[in-house]
Symmetry: C2
């Protein structure tokens, strides 16, 4: 067994430590977050940290790295108050990864990485045309982590767009059929295969599988 | 295309909405968080919300639902100051789901769901014996989301335990070889297959795949 304590982790080479610690919690959400600056320049960035905050009312959160360098996503969503979360598909995984490069903010990043900038209704921020799961949000609140300046951004879900027939009778989504990817660490993209969907479980009851 | 706005989401049937909103952000981390009460009763609970907070120093976060009902994980980690995050494997996915049932806190939940309660060194909280990825943490800080009372818990990584040869030369972990699962929504477990691991990308450079 490999054992590493806190001091040994601190002593690791920088990139080795970043790879290890970023991947250690397992598969993560894979999303592109799109924003727009006051100057009407669109930005799109890859995030692996979207978390569920609540269903009623519907809220999502995501982690933003410390504001020690320019963060276009943060500046834009704070100034306009809106942003979109778009599920990365296997088809655009490579393009999504290209969004992690640090481009200037003079031209639309959608154009730069050849992803479709899609406007739906009167929502002021673009969605990713190629995404099957598209969520429009308004900024709600933020929390700065004292330990390292990382920021949790909370948004209210304003609009959801999904392909026809994507939602099952009980509200379930089949992420594998929506071509969703999971992200590992900073750089690895995965497709997934369902093991099982289990029924809500009460103490000492046998677990039942929900059929497709 | 299916379109749902905020009001339409609020009007959905409760379980339908919970299924939909919990799954909409994509595949999530699948972990068992173990704690121990002052009375020395162990608890283990399934969480799909572990997020990366920082690598240097190494921190992880996770979301805790509002404290409107008893939350054994919260009470225990606040009173003892330590907890463990253990990666769910495909082998224990069903047992992990059994941990989502609301058991009383009179006996060890490890025994109740037949998961191995493993102590390593002098760490005061048990790890999950069957997990390949085992992380011991100390509680650092918490942030309450004003919108709905959900709590972000931040912990400092004190110890990491991994199988021999699990860490590659550059610090990378192959989650698929560690038998890790991803979780969708509240009830669906997945195994994953790597699409690609991409090199760090600079603007306007061609994206390169990192070979196995």
């Amino acid at each position: 067994m490999i054992k590493l304590n806190h001091s040994e982790i601190l002593a690791l080479e920088k990139y080795y430590r970043a790879n290890l610690i970023n991947k250690i919690a397992g598969y993560k959400t894979g999303n592109l977050i799109a924003t727009k600056s006051k100057e009407e320049i669109s930005n799109v960035a890859v995030f692996n940290s979207v978390v569920h905050i609540g269903a009623n009312p519907p809220y999502l959160g995501f982690m933003m790295r410390p504001l020690t360098v320019e963060r276009q996503t943060y500046d834009n969503l704070k100034s306009l108050g809106f942003y979109t979360i778009n599920g990365i598909t296997t088809q655009i995984a490579e393009k999504a990864h290209a969004c992690s490069a640090k481009y200037d903010n003079k031209t639309s990043e959608f154009d730069t990485v050849c992803i479709t900038e899609q406007y739906i209704g009167d929502f002021p921020v673009p969605f990713v045309g190629e995404s099957n799961i598209k969520i429009g949000l308004s900024f709600l609140e933020q929390h700065e982590i004292k330990a390292n300046g990382t920021i949790l951004i909370i948004g209210k879900i304003e609009n959801i767009y999904l392909p026809d027939n994507a939602i099952k009778e009980d509200g379930d989504l089949e992420l594998e059929n929506l071509d969703s990817v999971a992200i590992g660490g900073l750089d690895t993209y995965y497709k997934a295969e369902k093991i099982a969907r289990y029924e809500y479980v009460r103490p000492h009851q046998k677990i039942k599988i929900i059929p497709d």
